[in-house]
């Protein structure tokens, strides 16, 4: 694709509907630099309460970086610098008084590769509630662990093997264990960074079904390379390109009547 100047100029303005009526996250003019690389450029986007929003785009377009801004995981990268105004429930999460530890308890994250701790299944889920002091007794902790596993659709499969290592589960089960681990601390938002890219279609389908159920209690932002997945699970879709947010809108509109030519090229498979 020839990225001529006029097209890049066009990129600077996001088309579609970046704002929503009842946002949980509001991001305004977000910029991220990794050293000399400008990874995210003037992105403004809302994430609605109780919605699933998918972030799509070709590799290196900045969608994962954007996701990591939302729970300040970029803080752990030495050379990353984040500017702009990012608010969770109206509160600036990059303000000096905000503790990233508390923020990450409110904004959970599921990673691309299932990464259970090399501990028992029980301990994997119990870890978060334990460090945050969410359970006053062992019985309460048990309840949290079992209901988290249940909500992640894993309880039936693991109820007799709680003491087995989490790493001994299959890939899809591991990913659902990671989701159980995330929801055990009762976050307001769950960020998912290509959660199904390492899974087979059946495990993927299970997680997609799970997302539909989780939407009742959590807002979800998911980065995905699969446009079918985005179409299946999300209400809104945001298309990123070269660090710009090109287009954002209702998922079926983005996929059927994209406003921007680049979006159209991408969703029809001409680029990406």
């Amino acid at each position: 694709m020839s990225a001529d100047g006029s097209e890049l100029g066009e990129l600077r303005r996001t088309v579609g509907q970046p704002t929503v009526a009842d946002p949980i996250f509001t991001v305004r003019d977000c910029n991220v630099h990794y050293g000399d690389t400008h990874a995210i450029k003037d992105v403004s986007l809302d994430i609605g309460r109780g919605e699933v929003i998918s972030l799509i785009g070709p590799s290196g377009c900045g969608k994962s970086t954007f996701l990591r801004c939302l729970n300040r995981m970029n803080d752990t990268i030495d050379i990353a610098r984040v500017t702009g105004d990012i608010r969770l429930d109206g509160e600036d999460i990059y303000a000096r008084k905000v503790d990233p530890v508390l923020l990450r308890a409110r904004v959970g994250m599921v990673f691309q590769k299932p990464n259970p701790f090399p501990k028992s299944i029980y301990e994997n889920v119990a870890y978060g509630p334990r460090i945050h002091g969410l359970a006053r007794s062992r019985a309460e902790l048990d309840d949290i662990v079992y209901s988290s596993l249940d909500r992640a659709g894993l309880y039936g499969e693991v109820k007799d093997r709680m003491e087995e290592p989490g790493t001994a589960l299959s890939g899809g089960q591991q990913q659902r264990l990671c989701i159980a681990r995330t929801i055990s601390v009762n976050p307001e938002v769950i960020l998912m960074d290509e959660p199904c890219s390492a899974l087979d279609p059946i495990a993927t389908a299970k997680i997609e079904d799970l997302m539909e159920e989780l939407r009742e209690n959590f807002s979800i932002a998911i980065v995905t390379h699969s446009m079918q997945q985005a179409a299946r699970v999300s209400q809104r879709t945001a298309y990123f390109h070269l660090g710009y947010l090109v287009e954002v809108g209702e998922t079926n509109k983005v996929f059927t009547k994209p406003l921007h030519r680049l979006t159209e090229d991408y969703v029809t498979g001409r680029i990406g």
Binding site: L102, L103, R104, P118
Partner: protein
């Protein structure tokens, strides 16, 4: 741009012929390469085997000691002429005389001062102290006669261990023909016995080989390693964790890293000089003390521990850290709950290998006065002491034939400790290693 020659791509048949013709030389090269490898392995195994065979052949006899049975007459006239049974008098009595009398009874026809002295020297001087201790413990022995086993003198011991070549001219060996006759006569009377050499494992150094042992040195080494591990392991691990997980990536940290790597390569004797200057001269800690030795060895081992710990920490997958951080664990929680347990086997392995090196270290100990003649078993890390490798060095320097086998025996003991420590490292690794 060069002209493109389309003929450069050969036909399938041609390609096949060319590949086939090159196969022979390729396989020959492969076989040659394997042969080099096998030769290298065989050579190193041969060296190790040769080393072990020599050491064990030399040293195994030291684990046994010849004992001589003497009928000791606890003559009151000799032990306590005044009859007061005063401990003072009893402890300063002439016990040598008891041994002499006993030997003279066995060999009544020996005359002449020189011959008598030679005869007396067949039994270890340790017999005298043994007799004194017996009398001091139980004064009722005085006046009685007892058959007692005493360690043989090292020359007699060597004779019975077959280390005296009787075919050599008498003047050029330390064990003369008369002694050979006496020794054989003792054997015929059933007065010679070989026993497990407990002295070797329970006593300190001595001028008499038959009374010398490695226990003082082993205990010194033990105290030293204790100090070393107590200091080097926590400090090394703490430094590694800070550098890997918390330190900012800047020039100063790079400089520290380079210096740690350099420190690991500093000759150990330099650490000895450092210990002498800092711990003994500046802090006035006692000389020859395992505490100082341990501190010096800790300084020497710490870079190794840091390097091993850092690579163990690096080997923990970043996904584990991300998982913990993403869940809202603080950085310290992430490290202590997840990174450290996963890195611990690697850290321990590194520390044990570092300690094994410290156990075998001699040079820095020479600098801080641990190369001393230590008879008493050290009771605390502040008592003067030597160490196993230093003891080996000291014995290797001694002229007596019997110290040769003891040198080798001490080497066997040291090697046994080293093998044990390495085995522990392997065990720890396999025991705690996790897959993910």
């Amino acid at each position: 741009m060069a002209e493109i020659n389309r003929k450069a791509l050969k036909s399938a048949a041609e390609t096949r012929k060319l590949v086939e013709s090159s196969l022979r030389s390729r396989y020959a090269r492969e076989r040659r390469f394997q042969a080099y490898g096998i030769a290298a392995v065989v050579a190193s195994v041969a060296f190790v085997g040769f080393f072990f065979v020599t050491i064990i052949a030399q040293g195994h006899t030291a684990f046994f000691q010849t004992y001589v049975k003497l009928d000791i007459d606890f003559d009151p006239v000799v032990i306590d002429p005044e009859g007061g049974r005063e401990p003072q008098a009893l402890s300063s009595a002439n016990y040598q005389k008891l041994v002499k009398t006993s030997l003279e009874k066995l060999f009544p026809d020996v005359s002449g001062r020189s011959d008598k002295r030679t005869l007396n020297s067949m039994v270890s001087t340790g017999a005298i102290y043994e007799l004194r201790d017996m009398v001091l413990a139980d004064a009722s022995l005085i006046g009685k006669t007892r058959s007692l086993w005493f360690p043989a003198d090292d020359e007699l011991d060597m004779y019975f261990k077959g280390r005296v070549d009787v075919d050599v001219d008498e003047t050029s060996r330390r064990f003369n023909d008369k002694q050979v006759l006496w020794a054989e006569s003792l054997r015929e009377q059933g007065r010679i016995e070989k026993r497990f050499n407990t002295i070797f494992f329970t006593s300190g150094d001595s001028r008499d080989p038959e009374l010398s042992g490695i226990w003082a040195a082993a205990k010194g080494s033990f105290f030293m390693l204790l100090v070393t591990i107590v200091i080097a392991f926590p400090m090394g691990v703490a430094a590694a964790i800070y550098l890997e997980e918390f330190a900012p990536k800047n020039r100063w940290v790079d400089l520290i890293e380079v210096n740690i790597n350099n420190l690991a390569a500093v000759p150990s004797i330099i650490f000895g000089l450092l210990g002498l200057a800092v711990f003994i001269n500046f802090f006035s800690l006692p000389r020859s003390a395992p505490l100082v030795g341990g501190l010096v060895l800790a300084l020497m081992t710490m870079p190794t521990v840091i390097i091993a710990s850092r690579s163990a920490i690096k080997a923990v997958p970043p996904s584990i850290r991300k998982a913990a951080l993403g869940l809202g664990a603080s950085q310290v929680q992430t490290v202590t709950h997840h990174v450290l347990p996963l890195a611990l086997p690697g850290m321990l392995t590194g520390a044990i290998l570092g300690l094994a090196r410290a156990l075998g270290e001699t040079a820095p100990l020479l600098m801080i006065g641990m190369v001393a003649f230590i008879v008493d078993i050290p009771q605390t890390p502040l008592d003067p002491s030597s160490a196993l490798p230093v003891q080996i060095y000291l014995w290797a320097d001694s002229p007596e034939r019997a110290f040769v086998e003891r040198t080798s025996a001490a080497i066997i003991v040291l090697l046994a400790f080293l093998l044990l420590m390495n085995a522990a490292a392997v065990w720890l690794r396999s025991r705690f290693e996790r897959r993910w």
